[in-house]
Symmetry: D3
Amino acid sequence: MRLFLIFVALAIPAAAQVFTWSREQMIQYTGQNPFERFPDGRPKVPGALLEKVSGLTAEEVFTVLPGAKYPNQWEGNWRLLHPGRKLVGRAVTAQYMPLRPDVADVAEAGARAKGLAPNINQRVLDMLEPGDVLVVDLFGKVEQGTFIGDNLASYLFGRTKTGFVIDGSIRDLEGIYPIQMAGYFRSVHPSAIGNVMLTGVNVPVRIGSATVMPGDVVLGDREGVYFIPPHLVAAVVDNAEETHVHDEWTKAKLLTGKYKSSDLYPRPSDPALIREYEEYKKKKLAK
Amino acid sequence: MRLFLIFVALAIPAAAQVFTWSREQMIQYTGQNPFERFPDGRPKVPGALLEKVSGLTAEEVFTVLPGAKYPNQWEGNWRLLHPGRKLVGRAVTAQYMPLRPDVADVAEAGARAKGLAPNINQRVLDMLEPGDVLVVDLFGKVEQGTFIGDNLASYLFGRTKTGFVIDGSIRDLEGIYPIQMAGYFRSVHPSAIGNVMLTGVNVPVRIGSATVMPGDVVLGDREGVYFIPPHLVAAVVDNAEETHVHDEWTKAKLLTGKYKSSDLYPRPSDPALIREYEEYKKKKLAK
Amino acid sequence: MRLFLIFVALAIPAAAQVFTWSREQMIQYTGQNPFERFPDGRPKVPGALLEKVSGLTAEEVFTVLPGAKYPNQWEGNWRLLHPGRKLVGRAVTAQYMPLRPDVADVAEAGARAKGLAPNINQRVLDMLEPGDVLVVDLFGKVEQGTFIGDNLASYLFGRTKTGFVIDGSIRDLEGIYPIQMAGYFRSVHPSAIGNVMLTGVNVPVRIGSATVMPGDVVLGDREGVYFIPPHLVAAVVDNAEETHVHDEWTKAKLLTGKYKSSDLYPRPSDPALIREYEEYKKKKLAK
Amino acid sequence: MRLFLIFVALAIPAAAQVFTWSREQMIQYTGQNPFERFPDGRPKVPGALLEKVSGLTAEEVFTVLPGAKYPNQWEGNWRLLHPGRKLVGRAVTAQYMPLRPDVADVAEAGARAKGLAPNINQRVLDMLEPGDVLVVDLFGKVEQGTFIGDNLASYLFGRTKTGFVIDGSIRDLEGIYPIQMAGYFRSVHPSAIGNVMLTGVNVPVRIGSATVMPGDVVLGDREGVYFIPPHLVAAVVDNAEETHVHDEWTKAKLLTGKYKSSDLYPRPSDPALIREYEEYKKKKLAK
Amino acid sequence: MRLFLIFVALAIPAAAQVFTWSREQMIQYTGQNPFERFPDGRPKVPGALLEKVSGLTAEEVFTVLPGAKYPNQWEGNWRLLHPGRKLVGRAVTAQYMPLRPDVADVAEAGARAKGLAPNINQRVLDMLEPGDVLVVDLFGKVEQGTFIGDNLASYLFGRTKTGFVIDGSIRDLEGIYPIQMAGYFRSVHPSAIGNVMLTGVNVPVRIGSATVMPGDVVLGDREGVYFIPPHLVAAVVDNAEETHVHDEWTKAKLLTGKYKSSDLYPRPSDPALIREYEEYKKKKLAK
Amino acid sequence: MRLFLIFVALAIPAAAQVFTWSREQMIQYTGQNPFERFPDGRPKVPGALLEKVSGLTAEEVFTVLPGAKYPNQWEGNWRLLHPGRKLVGRAVTAQYMPLRPDVADVAEAGARAKGLAPNINQRVLDMLEPGDVLVVDLFGKVEQGTFIGDNLASYLFGRTKTGFVIDGSIRDLEGIYPIQMAGYFRSVHPSAIGNVMLTGVNVPVRIGSATVMPGDVVLGDREGVYFIPPHLVAAVVDNAEETHVHDEWTKAKLLTGKYKSSDLYPRPSDPALIREYEEYKKKKLAK
């Protein structure tokens, strides 16, 4: 029996992680992506669209996603590195589990065979491209769940110019704080990452009550983080444009204190106000 | 039986909410109010007194209230919109409960009969006057417990120039943040308010471990929110004036590092210091 | 001003609680009740129907209520006095808030005027009839939130032969335990009830995420407590009867270990099994 | 692009779940398993060994596993269906994530293509063999995280004669309670399972702070649940045999109250006691 | 400097723990104890009085202690080994802190010098006498906070015939469960005690919100644990005797369902009932 | 008996607190301290070394302490008064327990005999020297666990020029906030400190999962608080110096986005980069 096993081990090239999708699987599971893809099949939402997403807030995404049958794409209860810095980019996902050597040894052997870094977090970090946002399932682990310190945070920001979403902790907060990036994490601890194994890269991961796919557009604001499936990004952006104009006009009016809220919200009832708003909208959307 | 019920429904004009106080009830339950009242009987603590309250801190209220048998008027554990902005005004209260159609339908019919807005939060918002502070019992609900977004927050601030206390959540934090108002809330969520019904307006509400009455003076600082019964406001303000002077002098002395704390606090023991303090106090209170 | 107030106080007979419904209001808010009523208007679901409810489980209620637009009628996370004892009866509700003398004194004066007991919990207990289930909103208060000890628990059970639902705590657990009643509560504490005021009796109360109306049918099982609006009780009972028969037959089959679950559940696919089940059902429902 | 995608979708037979291991992968990742395997490669620890495991307690496993570099195989904080009933068997694992249609639709199409049941929990249940223990990662979900009710619990027990470990909730507790099986779960709720998708079957799953592999030996006692890798089961059992004898003798002595604990524990120091113990051990182990 | 230190170390016999009271200190801090003492000064409440305490419940202690200015003697939120088994005895206290070698090494050297067991929990266990109840401050630690397993639990019960209060965890619950003792603890874990140091024996310890002194009478019932200072035990017992009689009579009456609770509780108002009760009381107390 | 006790009370001079160390005990338990001491024996790490510690972060301490067998010296989950302000100084420790008069009265009598302030917090505050950091175990108490308000915070800062670590709460946050000091606390409350007694000063105290000794070097940064035993401070500082240089160079390189993280971290692999780094290091350490 042992012989047979060794034979199999030779015959099947081991993956570097327990869960790995081939390019074909990636394309199959993201089949609704209307955009280009990275070489590994991960959807590549265009930079121009990401630019527009950076002007959105969580509510503008919420207006579209649950109605499109995607109610599980937002997650809150984060600690923010720099509230006020928006986080926008394309998700690169990583999944960790508590370490067990029988599983980890097979995966590590596979990684070595591919010449990948042995370090469990750098292997993932070294995959990042500009515009990527790393999304890490460390199951909320605090002690030894510290995905990055100040050195690797510098790397991450230098490489991606975005930030990170870590369902776990970070270390070296004093050293990371000066970096002007957007970061979402659960806690902090001085310990180094340990007692975990990397089980998946660029596969679906669960972050709290959200499911995140590689290539999802990440939008982090003061409220929390939204993970937008690529095929819904355009609809979200289009819908938000009119909302922006509407809210701009409505908020300015309401701040005057001269109206009842129901005179203007959700929409004005007085014909003169309706006309005023319609003209404002026409002018704004024309730009 | 059903006929009888319909007859009753015709005979009794339904209230817009489950719990509504008549002007007479409001006056009865706030009988110790020494000030004027709004048309609905709600106590109207004078603006000049509110101005003085805005110079107080929670401790200065604490010095008076529990001793006057009001130990349940403070609530902490808030998330603050803008720490450092004080919240001061006259409480307008609202109570919500989980939705059940049998109850909600009767109340909504009553509201329609009075020409009130159907929207469960705007009906309350449209009642606000300058200087009011809205205090909402949403039982800490997060998802669908989002009382306001950026449009209605603009309205609320434009109308009252104060802020809000919501034992529930808000949405659109990214859009609300630029408004320079004071806000106390429990959490944030992108969802819209829903699955609740408005059960009371300007009746007593429970906010955590505090009971709030319409017309209470709301005082929010970095620590939490105090709800001061109108008949105790003057005593609180009077008591604080001397405390202010005392603490100013004492803190300046203690910051020098030259004394033992017990030389000066709670009061100086050295005759020279006593004299110095008495003179300082006389000069200050004279102003 | 003070004179005016006294005049009002004389003119309006104060209610014994802050929130009190007249018989007319009770009937208005429970207008869909198809059954008789108590003298105060509270719906009185017939004893024979209660008997049938005692054979149900939470799931059988769940099958009907959310679909009928009543998603907020169940509450879990209780501590149970005697798991395995079902709790069934007609809800009598009580609401408490943190004490403030200005409000409490008015209500207490009203209670005295009506000759009611001064004690804040006995006043409610003394209203109970056989078959009633007391449902108390004590906002989860533990210390001084102890609604009953062993003496009053004896009374409650002697009077109602049912049990209790207390969103607060009980005391004297050692003395209450021997009483063979069903009890749902949040915690235990040796202190006596205090620092609260009774604000409502037989008005809607919030128990966790459920809204309970006086006259609702309470059903407590090992899982938690359901509060069923009177007009939905018959539908729940009818629906459960066939479910009972279905589950009896299905469970017996599945326990044999001879089938795949999908052969039998939710319904059998094999014609012979379908026939067998239909015959079983006919026989059973005929009884 | 869309054409290309469709082409791919035709070319690659979709798996029934997002994460599926081939027989080869299963064997690779459980390469240290010294026992037979099920047709899908899952280790099959012999029944005789399972029998011996059923005599163990968590501590006896703890004595071996962390020392063998497996510190992450135990999980506590469960609610137990029947404390006192031991749970022993071979793990069948299932992983769920919050539903998103893009991913779920591909997997469901794969399942349909294989003729599998569409129902997200029955598909897993129908795979169970006698002696299996279902271990489900439902990420602690309570509402709509209810993996089984009384019908499917009957099936599960009828089929496996063991029990279940659900990192989520169950429904119909009143109906499940009479079944004399061992069950470990987090909570209860009347709702049905929903808003989730099955993402993996018989792949590694995280249950709290433990990583569970298909084929692990599950041992549940009053304390919690241990997941023992197959290649360590024999060592655990062997080690426990002497411990059993030691503890039997030691506990009996200590219960007499005649000794200091350090006279006997961890081992006796008096030569007469040492001799007595050695004789006892020889006799016992000889059996 | 180092020489000086060594000199000191020689000169001062190190205590076996960081905090140790001499017999004189023990007597000084328990100066109100009216009873005999153990050789180390610990108060020894007589067995006959303990016997009477075993008939009390938490409420009967609560009636006396806060009024006597002892409001901090009860602690709840325990997990109970055998609900229904009362725990009564004289407190032996132990305090632990997270391990630091500089402190622990000095204390261990002191212990070795006195010939005490090196094991951090057995050293305490070996001090126990019949009728003692061990009260351990392990600061709620779960993993490695496991004070006893089944061997040492056997010893503890064999020696004291009482039980334990551990503000920490226990291990081997499966093995401890069959022992018919009373146990109060916070959680369970399979790990062994570790990473802590014993800092005090028979000194005051904090158990949650209670302060426990060596020699306090421990009373554990279904509700939680009371720690009664020796000088208040007689007052508690005396007070409870009449309460017992009162409650017996009152509960029997109230269970009949024939009275309003206010007819009988807190005391009867009807002359005939008063007479009946007085006669009952006289007869009972005469026994 | 009572006579005997009084005699003892006269004979033994009572300590001002339950737990007090003599100078000899202090020296014994901090025997590894290589520095000078305060008159009471508390280690006095030199100011020059404290200066260097103020340039460190938690991670740089973590690199040394657990490896030196001190894993329990860090505590997180604080609320920070002014994130960004470092806290560095020599620990003065204080321990509180829930009040019980029998114990407190003896200690207070001792304090009076020594002419100490009766106030339970000022007695400790008045002991502070410049460079001290007060570390208070108030067991996380919120209400009545408020160690300082704005007057005493002014004193504390004026005296020490450092800050505080309070495992409890503070009051008067609005008044304390303007003081530019570093503060770590658990919560805020308007109440004054009460219902506690001071049980130890400059003895070991437990702060969460850390054990703190008088004289430990306190280092608070954005992440939490480290308590460094005096004999390890030099090693920590030495180790950090090279780390500082390493991280400076590495972070600057990684921020360029031109390298893979594994090219540079933990150390460079390319000979040219190695050379560049070595030269950088030589230059920097030479300064």
